[in-house]
């Protein structure tokens, strides 16, 4: 019997050809981008791993922000950061005796007191003062270790953004990572997730806004988003290599592609959800499109947008692990190595670290969304 056959559609060849074409003609561009980005990523990751001055300043600013009330705290935190830079600059250049450190500390404290006088609170002043004295002493006794600073930094951020409990959880988790000797992979993964999320959100939110305002753009972008989300994540890894080479930049590229859709979708949804009567009210007072967007639609959409960013972070974390296959390293790299060597213990250990990291990121981003609800 003659077999009936329809010739196969050479879809794979077409895609290969087009990717080849893009690679041949635009690789110089993507490779250049890759080089710059790689340096950037390395600098940030190294910045997290070692103990540079800026982290101390940030810790300082954050803690003041945390201790003082929310609104004024940001202002005061910034001021104290500037003062600390100044103070530490002095420390770096001169041999200082302990009483001189205390003098600086007291000076900073007095300034803070002045700044905070609008809502003077003895307890708060005591807390700030105690903290400053501790900083001085720690610095003097050279008890700082890079990781302690980083843990403090992350804890403070979590505490500030998501409350005391998440702060404590973050502290314990990072001590745990350190203890498991997973510090470097964790920081690598965190850096990639944060960079990919920032990129995805920076591109995604404006696209979401356009999709909400223009029905035409909405109709174009929605199928593309469906495509981006449904395509198995591994597939993105393949074209990333010819474009950006093996390594972290490719990982970020694929992560951004994979994690961006929720940022776009939720932004669009959040803006479209604003009650028609509110839009009507804004119109009735003579708002322009931009006034409506920035004074009404975006502020009201923030909780929804934050839910989208939460999703983006979660997707980014899962993709960063997969991207270990093309050399992203980090916790995913640990898992990937464990698979190749069939070391279940090592795999689970890294896996658990990923879960904990995911929980921290999730709680923080959820909490920000909730804080902005009305």
């Amino acid at each position: 019997m003659k077999e009936f056959s329809v010739p196969k559609l050479p879809l794979d060849d077409w895609i290969d050809t087009s990717i080849e074409y893009l690679t041949n003609n635009f690789a110089f561009l993507t490779k250049a981008i890759s080089e710059y980005l790689k340096t950037g990523v390395e600098v940030i990751a190294d910045g997290f791993k070692f103990q540079p001055l800026w982290i101390v300043i940030l810790i300082f600013a954050l803690l003041i922000w945390q201790l003082v009330s929310r609104k004024k705290g940001f202002f005061i935190g910034t001021w104290s950061a500037i003062l600390t830079t100044f103070g530490l600059g002095l420390l770096g250049h001169q041999e200082l005796l302990s009483h001189e450190i205390i003098t600086i500390t007291v000076f900073i404290w007095l300034v803070l007191w002045q700044l905070a006088k609008y809502h003077l609170n003895i307890l708060m002043i005591l807390k700030v003062g105690l903290f400053l004295i501790l900083v001085g002493l720690f610095w003097y006794w050279q008890l700082w270790h890079g990781n302690i600073m980083m843990i403090t930094f992350f804890t403070l951020i979590a505490w500030q953004l998501a409350g005391r409990n998440v702060g404590i959880f973050t502290f314990v988790s990072f001590v745990f990572f350190w203890n498991l000797q997973l510090w470097e992979p964790t920081i690598d993964t965190l850096t990639l997730v944060l960079l990919a999320t920032i990129t995805a959100v920076t591109i995604g939110i404006p696209l979401g806004i356009i999709a909400a305002l223009s029905q035409k753009f909405y109709k174009i972008i929605m199928p593309i988003l469906d495509f981006m989300q449904t395509m198995p994540a591994f597939v993105y890894l393949i074209p990333a290599i010819p474009f950006f080479g093996i390594g972290k930049v490719s990982a970020i590229f694929t992560t951004v592609v994979f994690a961006m859709p929720p940022a776009i979708r939720f932004t669009c949804l959040g803006i479209k959800q604003v009650q028609p009567e509110l839009i009507e009210a804004a119109n009735a007072f003579g708002s322009t499109t931009y006034q409506k967007l920035f004074k009404l639609q975006l502020p009201i959409a923030i909780p929804t947008i934050m839910a989208g960013i939460n999703q983006t972070i979660m997707l980014a974390l899962s993709m960063v692990v997969i991207a270990a296959m093309i050399g992203a390293k980090g916790l995913g790299g640990e898992v990937w190595t464990a698979i190749q060597r069939l070391e279940a213990g090592r795999g689970f250990q890294a896996g658990i670290a990923i879960v904990i990291l995911a929980m921290i990121l999730d709680r923080i981003s959820q909490k920000i969304g909730k804080n902005n609800q009305f």
Binding site: Q275, E277, L278, E280, A281, A282, N283, A284, F285, G286, S287, T288, Q291, K295, L296, P299, I300, I302, F374
Partner: protein
């Protein structure tokens, strides 16, 4: 000159309104046009004029096009056809920027469900209209504060909208509209979402406020009671067309057709009808310089036991009773001037039947209607009040 004037205002919802307009001009009904063309008629050939300082209530059931009408006036809904003049300027021809300016300075709008911005506190809500005009912060907050004072919420400026009750929220909505100091207030079912007591309060306050502010108000409602209470003029709409327009009394006493009649039926007429609408000219009266004998004669002929007395300027002096008149006759007085009882109750032409009824309960004779100079305008009798009340119930 009229403040707002609409000429043949028409709104067709749909992609191709031309055909629908044609059919409409042939007098085809709303349903037929919808079936034939798929275009929904919002309002059809509506024309009206509103004088400055007037409160005009547009009244109709849902689907009557009243909300569409009010939105056409600030062009939140773009009219398909027709013109709207505000201060003589045809606003349907304004380009975008001029339209925004018009909305920012001349038109304040209040919404049925308040439409307060949930992420802004009360003060920030009220200053919104000024904020988008780029007015400097201190000045606009001062103005917003004044507007809040006007509605009695100056102590609530830091509260968020969801912390306020419905009535308070609508006060904020009203303050937000007043803050831009508009000439015209558009109020779309502004009190419909409030419970009855608060609603009555707000209606009274609006009337009081309006007496001071003298804005031009276009008020939309589906509630005839509310329309009658607030409006100087009422425009009654059905199926996108004006059925009757006129003063509340006119609508109550001379409904244009059965539809209006049915509307008016259930209204408590005693609150709306005034002495003016039931008064009859006083035929049998006495002048203060009349002879007691003539007066008594007149009374006997008409079976009256008491008679109203006026002077030659038609000013009401009081009544003379049969007994006192005969006493005057016996004493041989030339006039009844010394026997006038001035303690007679009076009503003003604008007093409602409610007031009349309570007076008639205690005063069994004719009640004189006098103007502010105590000039006699006419009388009201038990029978005419009863007749007026009965009329509506038929």
């Amino acid at each position: 000159m009229e403040k707002i004037k609409a000429v043949n205002l028409t709104k067709i919802f749909g992609q191709v309104p031309k055909h629908a307009i044609q059919l409409l001009s042939q007098g085809m009904s709303k349903e037929k046009i919808l079936n034939q063309t798929g275009q929904a008629v919002g309002i059809a050939n509506v024309s009206f004029e509103i004088e400055e300082g007037e409160t005009v209530v547009v009244m109709g059931l849902s689907g009557s096009g009243k909300s569409t009408l009010v939105r056409c006036i600030n062009r939140i809904i773009e009219p398909t056809y027709g013109q709207i003049f505000i201060d003589g300027v045809d606003i349907t021809t304004l380009e975008h920027h001029a339209l925004l300016e018009l909305r920012r300075h001349k038109l304040g709008m209040v919404f049925q469900h308040f439409a307060l911005f949930p992420h802004r506190n009360v003060l920030n809500n009220v200053e919104y209209g000024l904020e988008i005009q780029h007015i400097e912060k201190n000045l606009r907050q001062e103005k917003a504060h004044d507007a809040l004072k006007l509605v009695g919420l100056e102590d609530w400026s830091d509260a968020m909208p969801n912390q306020l009750s419905g009535g308070m929220q609508q006060r904020v909505g009203l303050a937000r509209a007043l803050a831009i100091e508009p000439d015209i207030l558009l109020m779309d079912e502004a009190f419909s979402a409030l419970d009855p007591l608060i609603r009555a309060d707000m209606q009274n306050e609006l009337v009081l406020m309006q007496n001071r502010m003298k804005k031009t108000i276009l008020f939309i409602t589906h509630d005839l009671d509310e329309a009658l209470r607030i409006g100087n003029h009422i425009i009654l709409m059905k199926d996108g067309q004006i059925i009757q327009a006129g003063t509340p009394q006119k609508i109550l006493t001379a409904p244009a057709n059965n539809y209006v009649k049915r509307f008016v039926e259930n209204i408590d007429k005693s609150k709306i009808l005034t002495a003016q609408s039931v008064l009859t000219p006083a035929k049998i009266i006495a002048y203060s310089d009349d002879n007691p004998i003539t007066v008594l004669d007149n009374m006997k002929n008409e079976y009256l036991s008491c008679i109203l007395v006026i002077n030659r300027d038609k000013k009401l002096l009081g009544v003379v009773r049969e007994k006192t008149a005969s006493a005057a006759m016996k004493r041989g007085d030339k006039t009844i001037a010394n026997f006038i009882d001035s303690s007679v109750p009076t009503v003003a032409p604008t007093d409602s039947l409610n007031v009349l009824i309570s007076i008639l309960a205690k005063w069994p004779w004719q009640v004189p209607v006098v103007d502010e100079k105590r000039k006699l305008q006419g009388i009201v009798m038990n029978s005419s009040v009863l007749a007026a009340l009965a009329e509506r119930n038929n």
